[in-house]
């Protein structure tokens, strides 16, 4: 018993402390170093921070270089699958583009109006520049969803900077280095985004699930019944972590064992990202602005508004010309129809005349038939010593008499 315990102790001690000829450090030393590194990396010391930034820069660049072959294979695979659906996608995109173009002008008008109103109430004005950033590392851990972009503190990126794919929200910056930053994707379990569900205007929080969709959480009781399938989810701006009004995804209602679950299908496919936009925001108080700056800003706004109005005018003129063209076509059509109507009227009247003639002829024929049969009864007799009866042929009475088959009806 004692010997087996001794063996165990010897084996453990040997495992921890024994160094082979090539090993420079014992495992016990390295375990303690690991624990020391864990503790140290979480201390907010300047030296540690700079050291971490240095390590991050070096590792991210190395990772990018090492990933080139794998990325090439991945890209080829994606390209091949893209080519198979290329034509259908193109047709769909063309329709979408036409719809979006029409929405664009009205959106810009609203944005400018919004800006103007903010200026009127002396609110702060957000001016933002979107920086184009390339994704250098996107190796998603099975447990954490994040990407590394090639823009850092040098380019004005800050912790919390919003990251977009076109105009869709992708995530926010959680770690910045000098020339690189780490972005926490919306799909990460640790991501929580305050959102508004439109058109019901319901406030909620979207949390990541680890997959390419999010889950709606924390909806006020009773409001969940109002939510419709395919409602639009966009950031509410609550908490000032994310800017308000950024599209996040479309809502999907899942009926799981008679309880409703709400998931959000993100507009952006995070596994296909290559480039993103980082929004660098400058907040400037309206009151602090000097006059030249404000004038400049105003003239810029006015110019933008003018441009939009010109665009709008162009669209209206185009629409008007289309309406005019349509009007002329319609008038021509009406004229043609009127001519056709007149012709039909003529035809109808000639037909009516024929029918009337036919009726008259029919009556005449009937009269002649009856005249042959009953004419002698109605004609005036001119015999001697007989009372004169009947009518003169051709008179109205004679005709009546013949039509009544020789019976004289006194009026």
């Amino acid at each position: 018993m004692a010997s087996s315990r001794d063996d165990f102790v010897i084996a453990i001690r040997s495992a921890f402390l024994k160094k082979s000829t090539k090993q420079k450090f014992s495992l016990l030393t390295l375990v303690f170093t690991s624990i020391f590194v864990i503790v140290l990396s979480n201390l907010d010391l300047k030296v540690v921070r700079y050291l971490k930034i240095g390590i991050n820069e070096l590792v991210y660049r190395s990772s990018f270089v090492v990933s080139i072959p794998e990325n090439f294979i991945k890209d080829t695979f994606i390209e091949v699958s893209d080519y198979t659906t290329f034509f259908n996608d193109y047709k769909k995109k063309r329709i979408e583009l036409a719809e979006l173009k029409s929405d664009y002008v009205s959106n810009e008008i609203i944005q400018n109006e919004n800006k103007e109103l903010k200026e009127l109430i002396n609110d702060y004005v957000l001016t933002s520049d979107k920086i184009f950033a390339r994704i250098i590392v996107d190796h998603e851990s099975p447990f954490l969803k994040s990407i590394i972009i090639n823009k850092g503190s040098k380019d004005g990126i800050k912790i919390g900077t919003n990251i977009y794919d076109q105009s869709y929200l992708v995530g926010r910056v959680i770690e910045i280095n000098y020339k690189t930053s780490r972005v926490l994707l919306l799909s990460d379990l640790n991501s929580n985004v305050p959102v508004t569900i439109a058109p019901q205007n319901i406030q909620a929080i979207v949390t990541g699930t680890g997959d390419n969709y999010g889950q709606i959480k924390y909806i006020k009781d009773g409001l969940s019944e109002e939510i419709d399938q395919d409602s639009i989810v966009y950031t509410s701006g609550t908490g000032a972590i994310f800017k308000s009004g950024i599209p996040v995804g479309k809502l999907k209602i899942i009926d799981e064992n008679s309880s409703l679950k709400f998931s959000v299908n993100f507009y952006s496919d995070f596994s296909q990202l290559k480039y993103v936009f980082a929004e660098v925001i400058n907040i400037s108080e309206n009151l602090d602005l000097n006059t030249s700056e404000s004038n400049n800003e105003n003239s810029k706004t006015e110019r933008a508004k003018l441009q939009i109005l010109e665009n709008e005018l162009e669209i209206i003129e185009e629409t008007n010309s289309k309406f005019l063209e349509e009007n002329i076509n319609l008038k021509n059509e009406i004229n043609n129809l009127n001519i056709k109507l007149l012709m039909l009227d003529d035809e109808l009247s000639s037909k009516n005349t024929t029918i009337n003639q036919f009726n008259i002829d029919k009556k005449e024929l009937e009269f002649l038939k009856l005249n042959l049969e009953f004419g002698h009864k109605c004609r005036k007799s001119r015999k001697l010593f007989q009372k004169t009866t009947g009518f003169d042929p051709g008179s109205v009475e004679y005709k009546k008499c013949v039509l009544n088959k020789g019976i004289v009806i006194n009026d």
Binding site: A15, F25, V37, S41, F77, P142, F143, R182
Partner: protein, 168 residues
């Protein structure tokens, strides 16, 4: 079969290949999941470290493994030192297992590996959730352990070929 008669650059490179592959795998985080299967993942560095430290491979320096852990943490975005600690625990476990084993058996190694990856991942999960308040999918860890366990046999077959090539 690969064999090296001379001790040139390629021979040296071949003898350092496991460490090189370890660094590539931590920098690349490859998991061959191009089909985007849900939860599918496996931990290749665990297999590599377990096998070569169990075989007491001469060029598999613990210090280099420690640095590989630091790189892994940086790439994945975990607190610095977590993966190093996990890798070191695997090294200790294999060192202990080597000390107590008289007749090596592949099946025993395989199940011991399962025990070790469960232990390491549990520790990893506990540290991240308890001390760093990370939200993690436990189910994801379970699947990761399962596939790492399954792929072990496949990879050690390749490693055995590698060692044979080195000994020849």
């Amino acid at each position: 079969m690969i064999s090296f008669k001379s001790k040139g650059f390629f021979s040296k490179f071949y003898s350092w290949l496991p460490i090189f592959v370890l660094y590539v795998s931590v920098l690349n985080e490859f998991d061959i999941n191009y089909l985007n299967l849900d939860f599918f993942s496996f931990n290749f560095p665990f297999i590599l470290i377990f096998y070569f430290t169990l075989k007491d491979f001469k060029n598999f320096d613990y210090l280099l493994v420690f640095f590989a852990g630091l790189i892994n943490d940086t790439v994945v975005g975990l607190p610095l030192g977590i993966s190093s600690l996990s890798f070191m625990i695997i090294c200790i476990a294999t060192s202990y297992f080597r000390n107590i084993t008289i007749r090596p058996n592949q099946a025993k190694d395989w199940f011991y590996f399962l025990f070790i990856i469960i232990l390491v991942n549990s520790l990893n999960y506990s540290i991240l959730t308890l001390f760093f308040s990370y939200n993690l999918i436990l189910w994801g860890y379970v699947v990761n352990i399962f596939f790492t366990f399954i792929f072990y046999l496949f990879f050690i077959t390749i490693f055995r070929f590698y060692l044979k090539g080195l000994n020849d």
